[in-house]
């Protein structure tokens, strides 16, 4: 069975999360910048003099990790949680989804093999 973990995290925690995942031998990662809001309602900024601007959407990073075993899932979630934690609003969320099928383009492998690291 394959699951996909998605996490919305702070920009400055990305490197920490990637490093933390590497320590538990997770190397397959995809990430990109997104804009988000939530409990953290956005910030007030000033621009050019004291002209207020309200920024609803703040930059966040979304990380996607594909995993092949359920046992692993919890460990990965915990690792990300620890690495991305600051305790302030805006730390983000970690989600997991079921994946129906997977295939590695290079090898035609399907199922769990498709996403296991290969050399």
């Amino acid at each position: 069975m394959i699951v996909k973990i998605e996490a919305y995290i702070r920009e400055d925690k990305m490197e920490d999360v990637i490093d933390a995942l590497a320590t538990i031998d997770i190397h397959g990662i995809t990430c990109y910048q997104v804009m988000g809001c939530g409990s953290q309602h956005g910030v007030k900024e000033y621009t050019r003099g004291k002209q207020e601007v309200e920024l609803h959407l703040l930059p966040k990073i979304k990380i996607e990790v594909l995993l092949s075993t359920e046992k692993c899932e919890q460990r990965v979630i915990d690792t990300i949680q620890k690495a991305a934690y600051t305790g302030e609003k805006g730390d983000g969320k970690i989600l997991s989804y079921d994946v129906r099928s997977a295939m590695r383009i290079r090898t035609h492998e399907t199922g769990p093999e498709a996403i296991q690291p290969s050399d």
Binding site: E45, T47, R48, G49, K50, Q51, V53, H56, L57
Partner: protein
């Protein structure tokens, strides 16, 4: 034709010309991503219209033989008879054509300043018509009045070294125009964040670079006044940069690159009217005061009155220019420039009131002219874009191009 002076003024002309693209970057960086190309084109199309009109009739109307102290003549239509080697005025170090070239660059940049207040909502077509009319109705007369032989403000004794009339009229017109147009539809709702700060900074530095040509070149030759105007320009810009950063630190806790860039421009505007008349220490004072005044206008007055001067064309150019004109009335000194007069600070009460009067006249001219031009422009169709076009951005709706198609991001 004196060669050193001619070389200087020709190069200064190219520097002044570069200010228009500098302004395009300055303004372009300040707007949202969806309006970048439109804002930039709005600043630079005056290179086309301004130069062609100047060549066809603008120079003649501005500097041709005086009529009533208000406007020139049509003797130099198409630049016919403008001498390549003989001077405009007796004793001038540069030829008539060189003077025409230098002044042409002013006629290009001035209307471009106005476009900052209406960013993001004015039809491009209407903008072009308005700007062309404004040049004729407001700019040529005001230029003639302050700089033309026989211009009545000049005869009155008003001092405008390099661009009081120009900043006051464009700034005030920008204010009137943005009020006539109304606010952007999401003025309150959305954040108008600056989309590209390095671009704004680059723009302001090109403005700084070109402004030395603007101010120092206004001495119209190599002489002590040119050197003096150079140093006062530098000192005022630097002081205003520091003053703006200080305002930022005091009021929002941190200096900003945007603040520093805006401060430089404010300081340049402030010193322009008096660059060749005030002593060096006064340039420091002008720089240090112009920034806080513009800062206050942008941060408080604009908020209070709720007009949508999008890129602070009035808040910077109008206010900075007016303040600079007043400061000239305060600090001008005949010991600096014998062609000037003494300001209030040096006992010259008269100059001070002449300056105030001149500024008043310019404001009135700008307001009346703007209403007039606006009225005529309306004859040619709707001036403001549809709400939908405003939403998708003027780049797509007015120009059909998008500034950065290969870069993702939320506007």
């Amino acid at each position: 034709m004196e060669t050193g002076s001619t070389a200087y003024i020709l190069i200064c002309s190219t520097l002044v010309l570069l200010m228009t693209p500098g302004l395009a970057l300055f303004y372009g960086g300040l707007v949202r991503r969806k309006n970048v190309a439109n804002t930039m084109l709005a600043s630079v199309f005056t290179i086309g219209t301004g130069m062609v009109m100047w060549m066809l009739f603008g120079y003649s109307l501005s500097f041709g033989t005086d009529h009533c102290g208000i406007i020139g003549s049509i003797e130099w239509i198409g630049l016919n008879g403008v001498s390549l080697t003989e001077p405009y005025t007796n004793g001038s170090q540069i030829s008539n054509m060189t003077f025409c070239i230098f002044q042409m660059m002013f006629a290009v940049i001035t209307p471009a300043l106005i476009t900052g207040s209406v960013a993001g909502r004015m039809k491009f077509k209407s903008l072009v018509i308005f700007i062309m009319l404004w040049s004729i109705i407001v700019y040529y007369p005001v230029t003639h009045m302050v700089w033309g032989n026989g211009g009545f403000l000049k005869k009155l004794g008003a001092l405008d070294f390099a661009g009081l009339g120009l900043h006051v009229t464009s700034g005030v017109s920008a204010l009137v125009l943005c009020i006539l147009l109304g606010r952007r539809y999401d003025f309150k709702a959305t954040n108008y964040r600056i989309h590209n700060i390095p671009m704004v900074a680059l723009g302001s530095f090109l403005l700084l670079f070109g402004w030395f040509g603007f101010n120092s070149g206004s001495a119209l030759g190599i002489n002590g006044t040119a050197v003096h105007a150079f140093i006062t320009t530098a000192v005022s810009a630097a002081a205003a940069m520091l003053a703006w950063m200080l305002c930022d630190i005091i009021l929002i806790g941190k200096p900003t690159l945007i603040g520093a860039s805006t401060g430089i421009v404010a300081g340049l505007i402030g010193i322009t009217p008096g660059a060749g008349y005030v002593p060096v220490w006064a340039a420091l004072v002008i720089g240090l005061t112009t920034s806080p005044i513009c800062y206050f206008m942008i941060s408080c007055v604009k908020k209070k009155f709720g007009y949508d001067d999008a890129l602070d064309a009035f808040g910077c150019h109008g206010i900075g220019g007016i303040w600079g004109g007043i400061c000239t009335g305060l600090f001008a000194s005949t010991s600096v420039n014998s062609a000037g007069s003494d300001g209030l600070f040096f006992g010259g009460v008269k100059l001070f009131f002449i300056q105030l009067a001149a500024i008043g006249i310019m404001i009135i001219l700008a307001i009346a002219g703007t209403f007039f031009c606006y009225g005529i422009t309306r004859v040619f169709g709707k001036i403001r874009v549809e709400e939908h076009d405003e939403r998708i951005g003027l780049d797509r709706s007015e120009l059909g191009e998008s500034a950065y198609p290969s870069f993702n991001g939320l506007d």
